[in-house]
Symmetry: C2
Subunit: 116 residues, 2 copies
Amino acid sequence: MDQLVKGTLDLLILDAVAEAPSYGYRICRDVLSRSAEAIELREGSLYPALHKLERQKLLKARWETTAEGRRRKYYQLTPAGRRALDEKREQWKLFSRAIDRTLHELKAKGVRLVHG
Amino acid sequence: MDQLVKGTLDLLILDAVAEAPSYGYRICRDVLSRSAEAIELREGSLYPALHKLERQKLLKARWETTAEGRRRKYYQLTPAGRRALDEKREQWKLFSRAIDRTLHELKAKGVRLVHG
DNA sequence: CACTATACCTTGGTATCCTAGGTTTAATAC
DNA sequence: GTATTAAACCTAGGATACCAAGGTATAGTG
């Protein structure tokens, strides 16, 4: 599944900060739990990706310090980031449907019609 | 954006020869038409991938010549290839559902994804 | 005889991700 | 008080999978 994750990293990250700003360490755990432990963003992939998205002006970062004294780097979408997210969501939807359509087995097996 | 397609190339190829043996040039067109023109396997990706799958003993190849005198290299699944296909199909299902579950929102529009 | 379609191939580059390390501070356990 | 875990960040270097761009050869078509 490692290979499959390629191409969805940016999407997952942008999506993870869409509702509210978040920070690296939490994004990891959020994606892990939201995916039911199926998708694990490793820090070695995540942090470089966050920096790249910041360079591309899709994310904006600010440092904060909690009451307990922990430093966190919060990321939020820029307007361009919001547009990129919408676009990547659409691309994902289109792509995953195309794959499903293309594969032979999913047709017979994946569709289940129930009456009543 | 065509980054998404990474990780599904082997799956698409193995699937394309699952029902009956096929050859490179036809696999390209089959995937293109089956995906409603959404997924285009380019030859620069396809042929090296076929050779790799053959080295891995997931595909077996044989040359044939048609009545018109065209040489074609037909590929078919080995038993290991069949198992690999089943596994990759399962992984794809798990992965795509995991992404769908993880994303907060989904919408669809029109994009074109290109493979190699 | 040029052009398109069929059919195969390879080299070299790049982007992307992961491994495997690392730092710092806070909380918890012993 | 010290060892360990958890929270939080980071990067260098390597692996590899894809892709662009070329190439060869034959058959059919205008």
